[in-house]
Point group: C2
Chain length 266, copies 2
């Protein structure tokens, strides 16, 4: 089979990666996509690095069976904790979401005070701060784990008063530091973007790594000459059946899909 | 080995079952206990019945390897969705938490208006309502799923303002119905008891099935003549390592333990 015709694989712990998928569809409308959401084991962000690595290996093996030509880790917890290990283990091109997020933040910040929000595992890894300071030595970086944002997004409570209250609790601290940009360091968080914007204030630029990630995939396909010119099919798999996945999928992508349940555990 | 010397097995999706364990320790201080918390796959309440059954089978097989003499399902999601199936599959005595909760509620209600809060899977199963009406035909039963309570409890946000706000959102509806008793239909919820009490009001009796469950185990052991007279060791296993588990364990049980990580997936 012509490699250009093979789909792109995208995965996340649940619905979060759909925000990346949306940008990939916008930027690469003619690519076929296979998405895997690990809804049986969501959330990842409160789990250990070892376990997240194990889950990721199972998913990548599944995506390889689907004959994908490249993979996007649409999950910051996996990207920040396991990217290097996964890249050396698997002989397939893998793109992650941290570097694109860092590149975007450096572009938009003026006062070099950058905030990052993510899961506990992502914040604990300290990868965002390290990567920002590698490129912008005098940057000040302020991080905050927001562990309830994923359950809130998975519940579909996107702009609810309770979500505003939770966001106020988490973001209070960051507001003190006069940040001018805030990286959404979890792919679930763009679902709560309006709420986060409302709480952090209009003068802080929200950085969503999703668009840059899609651009990076486009560049990679162009460089290799393996762009698809006449695809555009999107297929969704989950590890546990849930109406909420299909609901949020239609909300984010404006496409109706019924995700297929598969078992990937080894 | 003398059967009376063998431990009691207790399991839950995470820290919730510790509230049951606490009562078992109070009621049966000389029993050895082996606890398993499925912290790698928590929460169960938003997952499908099939998946919760699969997870439960893996855990029961693990507890059987630990040579337990009887098992307590310290999880309402498992009890309400899978108890009958598990009971027929396994040749080991299994006690669940629904019937004890129902018995307690019927004892305390005066106006026969009973509220139930639990996970989505527990509420969806309708088992509490069915069991209450079997025993108290003219009871009015009002149910409400509170999906964020488990993540809040697992985060240790037990009496935080945000937890009060979330509880207010969920319990608003139940308050209208003039209930005089409220079953905590999830073993995580006793961790939030002070908050729930504050929101639902002092005139509503909170029913925690944990105590009755422990009593039921005691009766079973007495009937069979297999009580332990000189044990009292407690051992904790988890499927993912987490400091939070150990922290909440010490908070609930007033005992310090370091849970051991084990892999139970088949």
């Amino acid at each position: 089979m012509d490699i250009s015709k093979r789909p792109i694989g995208i995965f996340d712990s649940g619905v979060g990666g759909l925000t990346v998928t949306k940008e990939v569809i916008n930027v690469l409308p003619k690519e076929d996509i296979v998405y895997f959401g690990d809804t049986a084991r969501v959330p990842y962000g409160s789990k250990s690095k070892e376990l997240v690595y194990k889950f990721s290996c199972e998913i990548i093996n599944f995506l390889k069976q689907q004959n994908v030509k490249a993979i996007i880790i649409a999950c910051n917890t996996v990207s920040s904790n396991c990217y290097e290990d996964l890249k050396s283990k698997f002989d397939i091109p893998i793109i992650e979401v941290l570097n694109p997020g860092v590149a975007s933040a450096i572009k938009v910040t003026k006062n070099k005070k950058i905030g990052i929000i993510g899961t506990e595992a992502t914040i604990r890894s300290n990868q965002y701060e390290k990567k920002i300071k590698d490129k912008l030595k005098d940057a000040k970086v302020y991080s905050k784990a927001c562990p309830l944002f994923v359950p809130l997004a998975e519940e579909g409570l996107l702009e609810d008063k309770i979500t505003i209250d939770v966001a106020s609790m988490y973001l209070e601290e960051l507001k003190k530091y006069n940040i001018d940009s805030l990286i959404l360091g979890c792919t679930h968080y763009p679902l709560l973007k309006n709420t986060i914007k409302k709480v952090i204030g209009e003068d802080v630029t929200i950085v969503d790594p999703a668009f840059e990630t899609a651009i990076q995939m486009k560049k990679f396909l162009q460089e290799k000459g393996i762009e698809n010119k006449d695809g555009g099919n999107h297929k969704f798999y989950v590890s546990d059946k849930s109406d909420k996945f299909d609901f949020i999928c239609s909300l984010v992508l404006k496409e109706n899909h019924i995700a297929e349940k598969v078992s990937i555990e080894k």
